[in-house]
Symmetry: C2
Subunit: 336 residues, 2 copies
């Protein structure tokens, strides 16, 4: 059965995460997973433009994953991904030197799980044998797109999140490695009326709740069936709200319920506020940390529920509320 319930796709061929490519910025490299990233950028000085730096990191992550997967661009049937820049220029510019059929996707910081969901579908249905799925984000391109010019030195409230600099790309294939994508739960758009771009965790928490609850209902599972349930990047404040929402539902939470935005930085790092965000937040934590935990056999199964705040500079200036979405995927260790 390719789908259970209303929102959850089941990949019976169990597509594998064959290889991972991760490139991380300076602050990310100084965080808890610094040693786990394939490439650590030693400085953030801008040599050309912030946008070019982000594109270069995305390209580098693709090169790393191709190398680690012992394949070339010619072996790839499809590339899926996106970023936070207007018109997905991070994704499209960084992939223009690879002759691979490309589909751009966007659900803000939920783009990585959207890409893994479509990658799973492409492999499972047989239209592709090998797919790249990845996302990038960059602190300074996001500041330019979503907030005040950096030069203003505008102060941020503690509810703000720091956009992650980096790129994470997965090579998804029919065989290879022992980590499979078994399910994807596609989220609905939720808008609870938050208008402040400094409150993205609050805007996204109901979307995370909706998708995770749908996933459990569709699959007949509980949170306890996962070694770890990680939201995309709610940050500390959105995470606390999600826990409240789960408690109100009487959902037993005796599992490792965490958040990629909380994990990627140490709380004592400078100016990380409520935690990380950005399209690369969930791709970096998933590929550098969760996949490793599964590969090493420390975990059996993880639910990654990346969350996206669907605002733009224009909608923020027009005082619109912030819709949000969350797409979840299940990664599972397979023996053999």
């Amino acid at each position: 059965m390719p789908r259970v319930g209303k929102q959850t796709w089941v990949f019976s061929s169990e597509p594998r995460i064959v290889a991972t490519g991760t490139v991380a910025g300076l602050v990310e490299s100084e965080g808890p997973f610094g040693a786990d990233f394939d490439v650590r950028c030693r400085d953030e000085a801008c040599k050309t433009t912030w946008e070019k730096m982000e594109q270069d990191q995305f390209t580098q992550a693709v090169q790393v994953v191709l190398q680690k997967g012992s394949v070339t661009a010619n072996d790839i049937d499809l590339v899926l991904g996106g970023d936070l820049n207007a018109q997905l220029t991070g994704f499209y510019f960084s992939h223009r030197d690879f002759a691979i059929p490309a589909l751009g996707l966007f659900s803000a910081c939920a783009t990585f799980t959207e890409a893994l969901a479509v990658a799973g579908l492409a492999i499972d249905s047989g239209v592709a044998h090998r797919v790249l799925a990845g996302t990038s984000s960059h602190f300074s391109t996001a500041e330019r797109h979503f907030r005040f010019p950096t030069e203003y030195g505008a102060q941020k409230p503690p509810t703000a999140q720091r956009t992650v600099t980096g790129a994470g790309v997965a090579l998804v294939g029919e065989t290879g490695g022992n980590v499979a994508i078994t399910h994807a739960t596609i989220g609905e758009i939720k808008d609870y009326g938050i208008t402040s771009p400094w409150e993205m965790g609050a805007a996204m928490a109901p979307a995370a709740e909706s998708t995770i609850v749908a996933h459990l209902s569709d699959t007949g599972r509980t949170l306890r069936d996962y070694d770890c349930v990680a939201t995309g990047d709610l940050g500390r404040i959105g995470h606390a709200i999600l826990k409240d929402l789960f408690e109100q539902r009487g959902l037993p939470m005796d599992t490792d319920l965490t958040d990629c935005g909380m994990m990627i930085f140490r709380p004592d790092q400078t100016e990380v506020f409520s935690g990380g965000s950005g399209a690369a937040c969930s791709s970096l934590v998933t590929l550098a940390h969760f996949v490793k935990k599964l590969e090493q056999g420390e975990w059996r199964r993880v639910l990654v529920a990346a969350t996206g705040a669907l605002l733009s500079a224009v909608t923020a200036q027009q005082k619109e509320t912030i819709p949000a979405i969350c797409h979840a995927i299940v990664l599972e260790r397979k023996d053999g």
Copy 2:
């Protein structure tokens, strides 16, 4: 076999275009297909914001297609689509009142065929029974995003294209109606070094060539196998370039090779320059015109190769070149 060649997906279940919903702006309603659109906007005076007008048109197109398809939002398993606004706010804001799993897609003006391709895959693989696939664009939101503020009254060269105002949404299902999506050819990113945002037809023509040639090679067909081969929105200038490129290849062109951007406006309409563009250009022409020609049995088979120019205001200001992409889908009349 779910794929032929490197780039072409084959949908053996032949998903159907069950119903169409089209909403067109004032200039579009005065064009050749004026009578074919479901909703014709009588004025373009801005009541709230341009962005809100675009969202309302997208929402209206969804409402129309649900009504014409005799279904409610509850019957829809997945909605796919996008628009030209930064961070896809046209798509996400217009769909937030529908509780439907949603995946945002972006390949600029190729987004509609990208959405139909993924819709075909979702139906064919069984993860969805009914999918909405649609795009919107709006002259004034695109001017704000990509060009000078309208109030400047900046003059445009004759190579410029006019962004189409409107929205087109298809209801794609397993059965219903006699128009099927049989193939999708996923394009690669092509960048031939064009830098002027007034030369989008020239930037996109090589992408159209690449995808159409790949489609013919993958399927073993010729242009003659189609009653009509329509690019997305190259406009008159890009279309002439594409014909040159085909001639250089010695490709026999004794077929109806045309372009949605050339078709949607009459050449004598005011300020339409080289023709229409925008994510709604190919969705409106496909759903209001091509699907009707097939439904009425006048045509048997059409290839729609929508093209997207992958620039943003930031990349244009940074003097970057303009990458382009083209995704093609085959629509075919089925008797019974």
